[in-house]
Symmetry: C2
Subunit: 351 residues, 2 copies
Amino acid sequence: MTEKVKIAVDLMGGENSPDKNLEGINLFVERNQKKNDYFFYFFGDEVKIHNKLNKYKFLKNNYKIFDTKIIVSDDLSAISSIKKGKNSSMWKSITAQTELDADISLSAGNTGVLLVMSKMILKTLEHVDKPALAGLWPNEKNMNVVLDLGANVECSEKNLIDFSEMGSALYKSLFPNDKAKVALLNIGLEEMKGTEVLKAAHAKLKQLDKFGDFEFNGYIEGNQITSGNSNVIVTDGFTGNVALKTAEGTANFLTKSLRKALSENLFSKISTIFSYFSLKRFKNKLDPRKYNGAIFLGLTGPVVKSHGGIDGLGFYYSVDLCYKIAKGKLIDKIKSNLAHSKNINNNNEER
Amino acid sequence: MTEKVKIAVDLMGGENSPDKNLEGINLFVERNQKKNDYFFYFFGDEVKIHNKLNKYKFLKNNYKIFDTKIIVSDDLSAISSIKKGKNSSMWKSITAQTELDADISLSAGNTGVLLVMSKMILKTLEHVDKPALAGLWPNEKNMNVVLDLGANVECSEKNLIDFSEMGSALYKSLFPNDKAKVALLNIGLEEMKGTEVLKAAHAKLKQLDKFGDFEFNGYIEGNQITSGNSNVIVTDGFTGNVALKTAEGTANFLTKSLRKALSENLFSKISTIFSYFSLKRFKNKLDPRKYNGAIFLGLTGPVVKSHGGIDGLGFYYSVDLCYKIAKGKLIDKIKSNLAHSKNINNNNEER
């Protein structure tokens, strides 16, 4: 018998909970009926959950509910959340990794609070200074891992090297047959370009290439993020957050303009009938729900943050992400990768 | 008689010069035949220019050629370009502001060299520490000015305040009937978010709001750049460059995916016939050539950089930009705005 992946889910986080959460998990089970290698720990209001369960027929014998009445509100600061939050569904879903045998935790609640709680409970991995927030980003060939997306406003060269190793481990967990290809986000391709921190990280990453954790592709500029030539895009949390949101904004702006153009007269309206399926496939490929789920990297256990305002299908993708991360042994891969960069970082500290 | 705007053009910079340059200028004259308030100084190889002029029938009595055989090559570093470049078309087109009576200079040559030469010749304005590179960016209502786009990798709070005042002056030169609305690009909207530099700039910009040079809208995130609620987007050169190129990359990625979707089968191909004009208008509105032209702000005279690889229509837009900037009295507006921020910045330096 294969060991089951145990996914601890905060059912109360985000909008429309626990509905969208249960809907997403139900869909995951429906799509993975043949597998019998997963189990869910549910954290939330048991009565509310029970009232919903009859709608989700695939949820049976594959979960256990832990009754937790307190919900981390989006309005609270991280500090006040934590004071009253030790009995919350969010806190409990993380402690499921230390107190139960959960492999990974998932919540759609407040990002800042989830990050603080995760750090408190799971602790930072040895040799890592700062955990990072990694996300998925479509590219022309497949998908990128991009980090940091906002956990660390300012980053040292060591942080960027840790992010490269951890991001590569995440990429390999999700796509075991692909090679992780790291690139540093910069404002030019020449080695002399960019900040001193970037130049130092560039030099060290060239040395780390030989360990085979990743191929190092040097610098890329913002317009090459989606090219697919690199798939682990490393940057500080400020730049990463701005880049991600600018890309989202640009995509919304373009699709809004396109929709307007295609509905402005009869001819263009007719055209959408003919192109319906093509446009649907286009939308489908780039559906942001497919990229739902940011991953906290650098803690002793993996924590995934689903978008708060996402629907059931979007939550499904974050459940699927959790399953893949746990099956892919992410934490083992991170530890193995960090062992390679340890020496290089040590040399650095001695300077 | 109205005084004529004199635009000094480096005809040899960028790809396909002087063709695309002449084509763009010719189009500008064609579209502004009724006006008689502009004049061009051409810098480049007189023989080559003369050979082309018969193609451009609107170019007569509205230009003067200054024969300059040396061209700044894209392969040269800024330093070696300057050594041999003092007789180049680029250098001469900038000195046209100090040695002739030109109001503005335009080149499609190497950005770095143009920036260094411009600083050497025109000098930085009093009270400005660092000139910035500003660009135009479409938004849902009209257009943004975004700066810095890469001239300054690291920026102080004073730089960001200068950029706000200079960017607002540029916006008002281009759109005299609109209000300049400044926003600082950040990774969250709350005042506590972001770097110390951003927080300090935020506090000072709130004080400057009262002078009426601009309305200060606080922070925005990357996904709000195109909303149109703010139109002068201020950030450091690293973040601005990454954001601009990420937006370009996202737009290319989406249009490529869309084109693929719309040509994959017979039905979708038919649809493009029906939607031809709508799609054309969509493309037209977002045509990057319309936003061609980066402006160096903070020098005693204005310099515009056209994209090197742009075509004649794209070059036309940068000529039109030069005309508007000169007519809008950009440098006077910048000086007037900087007089307001001077005191606030002085207080800052005394701390």
